[in-house]
Symmetry: C2
Subunit: 552 residues, 2 copies
Amino acid sequence: MAEKLKIIPLGGLNEIGKNMTAYEYGGEIIVVDCGMAFPGDDMYGIDLIIPDVSYLIKNRARIRGLFITHGHEDHVGAIPYVLKQLNMPIYCTRFTAGLIKLKLEEHGLVKSTKLITVEPGKSVRAGKFTVEFIHVNHSIADSVAFAIHTHMGTIVHTGDFKIDSTPIDGEVIDLARFGELGKEGVLALLADSTNVERPGFTPSEKTVGATFKRQFQGCEDRIIVTTFASNVHRIQQVLDAAAAFGRKVAVTGRSMENIMKVSTELGYMKVPKNTLVDINRIKGLPKNKQVIVTTGSQGEEMSALYRMAFSQHKQVEIGAGDKVIISASAIPGNEVTVSRVINELFRKGVKVVYDRADMLHVSGHACQEELKIIHALTKPRFFIPLHGEQRMLQIHSQLAQDMGMDRNHIAIADNGSVIEITAKTIKLGGTVPSGEVYVDGSGVGDVGAVVMRDRKRLAEDGMVVVVLPISAHDGNLLSEPEIITRGFIYVKESGDLMKELQSVARDAAENVSRKRGRDDGELKGSVKSAVSSYLFKTTKRNPMVIPVVTRL
Amino acid sequence: MAEKLKIIPLGGLNEIGKNMTAYEYGGEIIVVDCGMAFPGDDMYGIDLIIPDVSYLIKNRARIRGLFITHGHEDHVGAIPYVLKQLNMPIYCTRFTAGLIKLKLEEHGLVKSTKLITVEPGKSVRAGKFTVEFIHVNHSIADSVAFAIHTHMGTIVHTGDFKIDSTPIDGEVIDLARFGELGKEGVLALLADSTNVERPGFTPSEKTVGATFKRQFQGCEDRIIVTTFASNVHRIQQVLDAAAAFGRKVAVTGRSMENIMKVSTELGYMKVPKNTLVDINRIKGLPKNKQVIVTTGSQGEEMSALYRMAFSQHKQVEIGAGDKVIISASAIPGNEVTVSRVINELFRKGVKVVYDRADMLHVSGHACQEELKIIHALTKPRFFIPLHGEQRMLQIHSQLAQDMGMDRNHIAIADNGSVIEITAKTIKLGGTVPSGEVYVDGSGVGDVGAVVMRDRKRLAEDGMVVVVLPISAHDGNLLSEPEIITRGFIYVKESGDLMKELQSVARDAAENVSRKRGRDDGELKGSVKSAVSSYLFKTTKRNPMVIPVVTRL
């Protein structure tokens, strides 16, 4: 039998988020990334979503390590939840390690976790795999791609990346190394598809710095900048612009404060001398000497910017004489919340700079021309588009075909697919368990499809509880059924309806008890059905009807 | 006392949707538009939202008529709900009347409603008002602006509009009339702010026709086009492209079928000879002879396109060899649903044409340069920006000021504001009741803030019912409390928790009954609080706890 390498995506396909991919070779497994996803609007009450790792748990003895490309939540956010079920050593760059450590501390996992830092350009042995860390550009510092070397050949796993020829930290993506790997021979390429729908090139991070300078130039207002907390280079550019124009900077919002701390401690951010001041002390300065860097670029409820807009921020009162720069684009699904905050800022007389045309934000992901360069440099035998919804995966496949790749050398997979690669073939060979595990409060996985369905139903039309006190002796009703509703109809306006429901429930109950004696299932079913039909007929609504039988 | 004219927006300010404005002069009232809004994601279970018209109901004797600018839902959607409370004659153009009639039929209101059609260019007397209908361009046929003439002066109310120099029906917006009114003197302008954030001009509807021709040219696939059903001119261009390339057209989706019927009957759509065929009969033709026009451009669940994508459409099976053209942009908030349908179409092997760059859709609203032309032509003394969220209203006010208008001549109002205009002043003078009235099933206004709050709570964390059978005789528990949950936790996994809850509830109940006897309020409060605290401590969740006391 031909030697085989298996690639099993456990998250990140047909979705944006919870990226996780397992590589299996010679009986050993390594895992790349361990991300979370944010819940959709229809996932009521869910805090976050993590990948189903039951396949890994079942094969825990064969796992040689978890390799992390960079510190964004969709690549690291599931780590604490997964580690509680499955301990593995984590390999990542220094800045990524700093961010992961914050998470481990929060979950009390520091002692039990082996966290190993690796410099870009270096390699690590993990069982039969040798994993090489390759520097890439992205919207967070210290991002890497992996070249995963095995006896069968080399796999290039890009992680999230772009090609930035003028990056803030001075280090362009290591294109030369991708080229060398291509010359040595790449068995398979797995590449980021996030921006594959966009033609051309993603602009350099530096273009945003130029916008900041234009915005600071001659401005007499206090300037408030919001962006993604993890975008260290963006914040660096705010600091540099502030220093250039003689302004002090204060920071607000928990994640922003945390990441500023980690990035300055580890040397990934260089704070110009005498620039940072405490948020409580900046108020003493004239408005044109102040900059505030804040969370809330997605309009998140209770983020620092949200609290400013709705006059709930303890330190910052906002109004005329303030300019808010939104240095971010709305992630799909967040348009409405972002819009709400912008409207509220306008209402308070704040100037808001949010136009996309003005280069206030650039993406961290490669557009079509950048992707083509990576394909051209690595010249892979096989290709698996990663990180993207179905249309992006397919467009990425088409892009590879346009560059001359055979359609049979491309695998468009799904989470849980087992992609089998031999020296000559690639194919989908079965599946492993995969899916969405919901985290709700302190519970992981205890909210499943049934609970979600109930929440949806309760949200749509509320509920009606019908309490039926039944005699344990003769099965007759001991008193009038009691009706309790929540989320259904305002009770004061519906007194008559409640009386009618009592009588509908009583009739249904009495019919059953006469016919069948003490069968509670029958009794409940009959009352539920009678009350539901009556409600739909009179109100065209479909609340959850819950009959409660008390036998005494 | 100076003569006064009052303008009272009842909807459409600080929101997109449910447009409605009342004009009050000399003791008489006319109303312009009567629209609905779609519920946000946090308005659980609500079907649609209409304006609060209690001010109009209170003053019903003074109302002289309802004037409608055009047939979009955000201008006509509330008509049946409002008419049931408040009968008034409706004045509108012929096509708008055709669409309103469909609604009246559905609600059984045809006989009781006086629906008067007016030609653009003509005027109608309504008490002390004379309302002149002025032809404008928009994304629906037969749209008008109003010049509302009173003894005090003329108000121009634009409704939704754009300036289209090459419109499909051949009629450019009547700019000359706006200019004449400006020369005669306009007291106040109320204008559409929807696109005021966009610089330049909105492209002509005709540019989309050119895209259709490019897409049809040399195409061997079946072509499926989705757009807004009300965009008669867009559909006309699909029909024309089909005829030009020798294809037949079938239509699917209820609203699309209805509007096609009305617009062809009334002569607003010209179907090329032998072009339309029934959806059941088009299948017999070769793929490259077929066009299907369908609803679902917003990814609406159960729309015809949605059903095609998810293999639930009875007549149309979709796959390789099909090309879907999405001739619409996603309305903010719909991005995720549109994206879901596109992904599913890709998965089925369908070619999907959805790129914004390709001029597949143009807006129906005026951009900045068009708005400036209307301001320049009408030269109003006062200005009230209409139709828009807060930021749009403010940017529109700034646009007017940039053209030389005094800030004191502009009123940025809110729904319910009473704008008082004299010959020399404009000011906000008090408010009338206004707000959102929810339509849920057959109920209008019976779902209010309390019910919504409960639904939100139920959606987030579900609910726990605690049934406490209490002796009417001595106030003691007659049996163990029963615990019923929905939307909280999967019960099989939580057997222990249920037992613990029983004991927490029993302890709380027994403490109270010993202390206070038969006070059910106290008993319920104590059990609720004990169970809630215990649940939050153990699960970090906050379900709605509903204690039910049965006294027997």
